[in-house]
């Protein structure tokens, strides 16, 4: 008889916000083998392009994932706009950037909270989510939704942000920066937190590349890869550099995300400073015909939208390669040899979005 424990982990499990299943093979508490099973959230929404027209599909795309809802909407709209060769107004580009960065901010704060929760630091979780509520308030004020914004549209955005509100947002960013510093101090310096993240789930630069990791996962391993540098939306007019760390462990990933939050705040302030006046939307008529790959940097990493249209109002094919899908192999790699107590941290460390992954 071996000394190996075999247990199911998920789909319903308190540390998992989303259903995913792992067969964990343990020795004492060391994970020897972790075999995943997904499909609990698979809806088959790519197939919906045949039932919803390309305008309606914007709303479906937004609901691929409730966390980076805006990014999905934007990615989809950009793909269609590229096919239809629509040039959207500059103000819309900036507004999109602001919302996108706010989304990143909220997503990373959410992630920080969940990470804190994963290692049993409840008060830190509460602090992160308390901070996040401020971002959600901005969302609600500017778009009307806390989670799903429904502001991105093919041809621009549906709602404008007034100058007063923009100023207010800049103010909130300043005050948030202070509060974020306070909690990031704990994430970066507290020794009990460090003992749970340092050296956990190390992914070397080579491994990250070989496993096709994207986003903060890759950046924490020293791969400088950030789609925003390609200058879509208003990013070309902004001044920033991708955040890169070398160690490739959970600690590095935490610090990448924390620094990205500060970066996002900075980007938002830059946007507010130079946002031009003007229209927010151009009218889009006709049906798309052609194909295009859009690549957008989501909070979780690079997302690829592939749209193929045939001139009718229904698309031929929409394909979403989400960042979590690309990061799953890296996760499985890091799970091997970790401790059971690290499993939730490692699952979280890729910032999984299973509903994106399975669509």
């Amino acid at each position: 008889m071996g000394k190996r424990t075999v247990i199911p982990f998920g789909p319903q499990h308190p540390v998992l916000p989303e259903p995913i299943h792992l067969d964990l093979v343990l020795e004492d508490e060391v994970v020897v083998e972790a075999i995943p099973r997904i499909g609990y959230i698979h809806r088959g929404l790519e197939k919906l392009v045949e039932k919803k027209d390309y305008q309606q599909y914007t709303y479906v795309a937004e609901r691929i994932c409730g966390i980076c809802s805006f990014m999905h909407g934007m990615g989809y709209c950009m793909a269609i706009e590229s096919i239809m060769e629509v040039k959207i107004p500059e103000r819309a580009e900036f507004l999109r950037t602001i919302w996108a960065e706010l989304s990143r901010l909220h997503s990373h704060l959410l992630w920080l909270g969940l990470l804190a929760d994963a290692f049993g630091f409840e008060s830190l979780f509460m602090q992160s989510w308390k901070l996040r509520e401020q971002v959600l308030d901005i969302f609600e004020e500017t778009t009307g939704g806390r989670v799903i914004f429904s502001v991105c549209d093919i041809g621009g955005v549906r709602k404008d942000i007034s100058a007063d509100t923009l100023k207010k947002i800049a103010g909130i960013m300043d005050s948030m920066e202070k509060e974020l510093k306070e909690i990031s101090e704990v994430f970066i310096n507290d020794s009990s937190v460090k003992s749970r993240t340092k050296g956990v789930g190390v992914l070397s630069k080579q491994a990250a590349f070989d496993l096709g990791a994207v986003g903060p996962m890759a950046r924490a391993s020293g791969i400088e890869m950030d789609m925003r540098t390609q200058g879509y939306a208003a990013y070309g007019k902004l001044n920033f550099k991708p955040v890169v760390e070398k160690k490739g462990d959970c600690y590095a990933r935490t610090s990448v995300r924390i620094n990205e939050m500060f970066q996002s705040m900075d980007l938002i302030k830059q946007c507010i400073a130079i946002i031009p006046e003007g229209d927010i939307k151009v009218k889009v008529t006709g049906n798309p015909n052609g194909e295009y790959f859009t690549r957008v940097e989501q909070p979780r990493g690079e997302v690829v939208y592939y749209a193929k249209a045939n001139g009718s109002k229904y698309l031929d094919r929409l394909r979403v390669r989400t960042p979590t899908f690309a990061n799953v192999p890296a996760l499985l790699e890091t799970l091997k040899g970790c401790a059971l107590a690290d499993v939730p941290i490692l699952i979280l460390t890729i910032d999984p979005c299973i509903s994106c992954t399975e669509r």
């Binding site: 049993g120 008060s123 003992s195 749970r196």
Partner: protein, 286 residues
């Protein structure tokens, strides 16, 4: 008379324990910037659990936690009626072992892992608990609580190191972060709810009440460190208990949960350093 006292202890101890837990929850909530539940919430929880249906996974697993409760009560009675500390500790260990067996008996994955971790925790804190008893004996020449608290000098004067070590392992006993590996009071843990995963209704209420007794047990030991025969010291001791409890709440809220390796290392090293040095010095000057 003795019987009346014993009955009094049996009834009052969980009330105090429950109230403390309630206060704990409120303070914790406030520290996190939340409103928090009513102070009597733990009692509501337990009463609700008693009213609910109890389901079981097999016929045996509930047996152990009832025994565990009985021994927790037993321990508290021994301690509060001035009995032998060492015997109380042994009885409590017996209770804990039965609790662990309850986890194993369900043969469910997370309970079993919880039991394993609980055993590890017991192994981690047991040396310090024993050394605390030894310390009392060194300081006051007796294992009996009634003798220790009627000494003229409080034991804390002789046992500062042991006291710190004891407060350290109290975190295990009170199931506070960073040492709440086996069963966290917070909802989200990789082993679900550890040993208690399979218990529901009345059985879960029993586990909660057992915990209340344990809280009282733990704080009584803190009390014993400070109490002497003068009444003022008794008040000081109660204040010290409150302070220690508050400290534990802060620690709970300011630490990530550690892994078993770290917990075991920390507990054994603290025991080895603080407990041993304190006792060595004490035995040298004796």
């Amino acid at each position: 008379m003795i019987i009346l006292i014993i009955i009094g202890i049996i009834i009052l101890a969980p009330l105090v324990g429950g109230l403390l837990t309630g206060i704990d929850r409120v303070i914790t909530a406030r520290m996190q910037g939340r409103q928090g539940p009513p102070i009597l919430q733990p009692f509501y929880d337990v009463l609700k659990l008693i009213q609910k249906e109890s389901i079981e996974v097999n016929s045996m697993h509930r047996f152990y936690i009832y025994i565990s409760l009985i021994f927790a009560v037993f321990t508290t009675v021994i301690l509060l009626s001035g009995g032998d500390i060492l015997l109380a500790v042994f009885a409590l260990t017996l209770g804990s072992i039965f609790f662990v067996l309850g986890g194993y008996a369900s043969n469910s994955p997370y309970s079993t892992i919880g039991s394993e971790r609980e055993l590890l925790q017991i192994m981690a804190y047991e040396p310090m608990v024993l050394l605390t008893c030894v310390g009392f004996y060194y300081a006051d020449k007796s294992f009996f609580v009634k003798d220790i608290i009627s000494a003229s000098i409080p034991s804390i004067v002789y046992l500062p190191g042991v006291f710190i070590g004891f407060v350290f392992i109290l975190t295990f006993k009170l199931r506070k972060s960073p040492f709440d590996l086996s069963m966290s009071h917070h909802g989200h843990q990789e082993i679900v709810k550890g040993i208690t995963t399979e218990y529901s209704g009345r059985d879960l209420a029993v586990i909660e009440i057992t915990h209340w007794y344990e809280v009282v047990f733990a704080l009584t030991l803190v009390f014993v460190f400070f109490a002497t025969k003068s009444p003022i010291s008794r008040i000081v001791a109660v204040v010290a208990c409150a302070a220690v409890y508050f400290l534990e709440i802060i620690i709970d809220n300011a630490f990530a949960r550690l892994k078993w390796q770290q917990a075991l290392n920390a507990a054994w090293i603290v025991t080895g350093v603080l407990g041993t040095i304190n006792l060595l010095i004490l035995s040298y000057f004796r």
